[in-house]
């Protein structure tokens, strides 16, 4: 395939992915909007005033970046894992496997599809947050870069989960038992400076902490961690997962008998 044909193939996969999550918007876009709006009401308006300030900001101001990032993470991951596993389950993955589309184009198509849904939900949640607080953007470049890289990273993770999954149970295990704890304990709702030294050190092993704090730095200008190091780590993980995903596709792992 020449470059032009590869571009056509990539946009075909991407359009198919976007069409899929738009077709079922009641399952893909609406639920996270409702859930996060409830977080805003409960943590921002009902409990937030009693908590007081955190890192020099009102609780609603502090929690909004974390909640936006949480919705991006879960939706980028969820889109790819459910879509790619769905194509495996219905065997429509064979449409791609018999075609001349290179594996990296297949991977990019699905990952960017997940990124688009993650960012779409992120934008919806951001707009909702404006009903509860005024948003400021301290570092626009940092904000955009970290949210994009985070969406890429979790879309790749979702792809790997889908490749290994044999049943619908397998695509809910990682989000339930790994992703949710990492996100909830990743500085979305609190600053790790509140924790005892031991748990602060433990928290530093959580990669989500770096993404949430870098995003918060982009919006509020405050962070619990070194932002430069966060970019190095997230970019490194993206590269690692990309090449691992590509390796799985090349080997035809759980795709070709």
């Amino acid at each position: 395939m020449n470059a032009g044909q590869q571009w056509v193939a990539f946009t075909t996969i991407l359009v198919k992915e976007v069409r899929r999550f738009m077709r079922i918007w009641q399952q893909t876009l609406l639920p996270p909007a409702i859930t996060i709006a409830l977080y805003f009401v409960i943590f921002g308006k009902l409990i937030g005033p009693r908590i007081g300030e955190m890192s020099g900001f009102t609780y609603i101001e502090f929690v909004v970046p974390g909640l936006i990032m949480m919705s991006v993470i879960t939706n980028a991951y969820g889109n790819v894992v459910s879509s790619f596993f769905g194509t495996k389950f219905q065997r429509s993955i064979e449409e791609l496997l018999v075609s001349p589309v290179p594996n990296y184009i297949i991977l990019l198509g699905y990952v960017i599809g997940g990124v688009v849904r993650g960012l779409a939900v992120g934008v919806i949640v951001t707009l909702l947050s404006l009903f509860f607080t005024d948003l400021q953007v301290s570092h626009l470049g940092v904000t955009v870069a970290i949210v994009f890289l985070t969406a890429v990273l979790f879309a790749l993770a979702g792809f790997i989960n889908a490749v290994f999954a044999n049943s619908f149970d397998d695509i809910s295990i990682i989000p339930t038992f790994v992703l949710t704890p990492l996100t909830y304990l990743g500085g979305v709702f609190y600053s790790i400076s509140m924790l005892p030294p031991f748990w602060q050190a433990v928290s530093l092993a959580n990669p989500v902490l770096y993404m949430v704090n870098t995003f918060r730095y982009g919006l509020l200008g405050v962070s619990d961690i070194n932002v430069a190091w966060a970019f190095v780590m997230v970019t490194g993980f993206c590269a690692l997962l990309f090449f691992f995903s590509l390796f799985l596709l090349e080997r035809g792992k759980r795709l070709r008998s």
């Binding site: 020449n2 044909q5 075909t12 996969i13 219905q90 791609l96």
Partner: protein
């Protein structure tokens, strides 16, 4: 002339140890209509799967129009269109989106993809259903959808894995006509089928595969020439209690008004009718008992199995 499909020493052993293919060699010439016949589990679908890169081969070489699938998989795949045995499209997508998406996977620009999608959906009688979700189609329509999808990039080699399985007779005949027209326009076609009548009426050449080996590879005409006997069913006006014994025409009673006889090819039937007349048995009708190719198929596969069984003892 470069073969449309060339297979050399193809082996496949699955992870569970099952050896599905044991060194297959096969050539299909451009423009041919080729049948791959064999009983269930013979290795037909595995062979098709490897050609279409849905199954990984253990060893061997495959070239499509001279292009090795290992060296230039992208070009080799451009030549092939596949119609699988089972429905493998997204049940929630619209008919038109399924075909157009496949065109995109082959790099067709959107305008051309749209034109080709319309062309093949019209030819296969699905244009009126283009905005329906694919799960709403009947079984026959789903099969036609898979053919439209396989043709949208206009492949030079069309591979069909039991394309008319579960399709009613009327639709099967119309699909045969369509496939004949596609073949007449220059597309090489390879099909696997259980319907031997299908192979007989569509295909020019045939390979019979059994237990992972090609046991026969010839033309359909040549194959039918090997058939040296036929079984006829005769219906009688008189009720029979026993099978009439006629020398040279072995047979058996089916019921009191019909019996079957085995006749060696080329042998006159006059003596049979003369003997029946002598016994005051009046034949009211006569027909072939079974598909001739079916008999031949059994006669070819069974000795091969016996040889294999003996070799294993």
């Amino acid at each position: 002339m470069t073969a449309a499909l060339s297979i050399r020493n193809l082996h496949k052993q699955y992870d569970n140890g099952f050896e599905a293919l044991k060194g297959i060699d096969l050539d299909v010439q451009p423009g041919d209509f080729f049948a791959l016949l064999g009983p269930n589990g013979a290795g037909k679908s595995t062979t098709i799967g490897i050609i279409c890169s849905l199954v990984r081969k253990t060893a061997g070489e495959i070239a499509i129009f001279g292009t090795d699938i290992d060296r230039n998989f992208s070009l080799a795949k451009q030549y092939i269109g596949v119609v699988p045995q089972e429905f493998n499209f997204n049940q929630f997508e619209k008919v038109i989106d399924i075909v157009k998406t496949q065109a995109g996977y082959f790099g067709l620009p959107p305008k051309l993809a749209g034109e080709r999608t319309e062309k093949y959906l019209r030819q296969l009688g699905l244009w009126e259903k283009r905005h329906q979700r694919s799960r709403m189609l009947s079984g026959g329509m789903k099969r036609r959808l898979m053919i439209a999808r396989a043709l949208v990039h206009e492949p030079q080699l069309l591979v069909l894995d039991e394309p008319t399985a579960g399709v009613d007779i009327e639709l099967r005949r119309s699909m045969w006509q369509f496939l004949k027209a596609i073949n007449a326009s220059g597309t090489t076609i390879i099909l696997t089928t259980h319907y031997l009548e299908e192979a007989e009426s569509l295909c020019r050449n045939v390979a019979i595969i059994d237990q992972g080996k090609i046991i026969h590879n010839t033309s359909i005409k040549q194959l039918l020439r090997q058939l040296n006997k036929e079984v006829f069913v005769l219906d009688t006006r008189e009720a029979l209690t026993d099978m009439p014994t006629i020398e040279g025409y072995p047979g058996q009673l089916i019921d009191e008004h019909s019996f079957e006889v085995e006749v060696v090819k080329g042998k006159s039937l006059n003596k049979l009718f003369a003997s029946l007349s002598e016994r005051d048995i009046h034949v009211t009708s006569m027909r072939n008992k079974a598909n001739r190719l079916e008999e031949l198929f059994v006669s070819l596969v069974e000795p091969h199995r016996n040889e294999t069984a003996e070799a294993q003892l």
